[in-house]
Symmetry: C2
Subunit: 122 residues, 2 copies
């Protein structure tokens, strides 16, 4: 494709550099975060660490199976940490890792966009 404009503009290359390249940071991010429930799960865990059922209520609408699968996936990506906080009354706590917490600006921009462009409910 078009990239032989080496000496022209340094500024505009920032927006074009991932076109035609093999690895795309947007696609990479979308592969992890681009699921229906992943952003809101992380958002709720950034707000505060929670147990499974508490989290399910906070996400509000997700099934237990999908939440279970999602948490497993997110833990695999190193975005969420699972800790058993009690054995006898068996209790678990999910929280975001540093890596997961770093997604806050992304999720916040999604929240803002949704609020200004999708607020059509009532």
């Amino acid at each position: 494709m078009s990239d032989t404009a080496s000496d022209s503009e340094t500024e505009e290359q920032l927006e074009v550099w991932c076109a035609g390249e093999e690895w795309c940071p947007i696609t990479a991010t979308a592969t992890i975060l681009g699921k229906k429930w992943h952003p809101v799960i992380i958002h709720r865990l950034i707000a505060e660490p929670r147990g499974f059922n508490d989290l399910q209520r906070a996400v509000d609408g997700i099934s237990s199976k999908v939440l279970s699968d999602s948490l497993e996936t997110l833990e695999g990506h190193g975005l969420v940490a699972r800790e058993v906080v009690s054995e006898k009354p068996f209790r678990v706590e999910y929280s975001v890792t540093d890596r997961g917490g770093s997604l806050e600006p992304v999720i916040e921009s999604m929240r803002e966009w949704g609020e200004t462009h999708l607020a059509a409910e009532g």
Copy 2:
């Protein structure tokens, strides 16, 4: 896409409620943007309007069927516009709408996150 029922996404998905009481802007945004290829498609169209094959090459990795379906969905959400620019040599041009262009900060934050947290991964 399939028939009439599934196209209710176009209008009624905007009324995604979090099971009764609270409407969640993050979930609503994720329902639209939370697909593997949607963010990068919009990103490439924000960079410049393109024809189908040009866009497919720019997205790099997407199949023609998935691109076709995605464009149809995004057009239904009012994020992408399709214009036939020539009939004799049949040419179309896809571009972002104002609404689609307003996603730029969201996509940019995804790009930044991927660049700093996913570089050199698969």
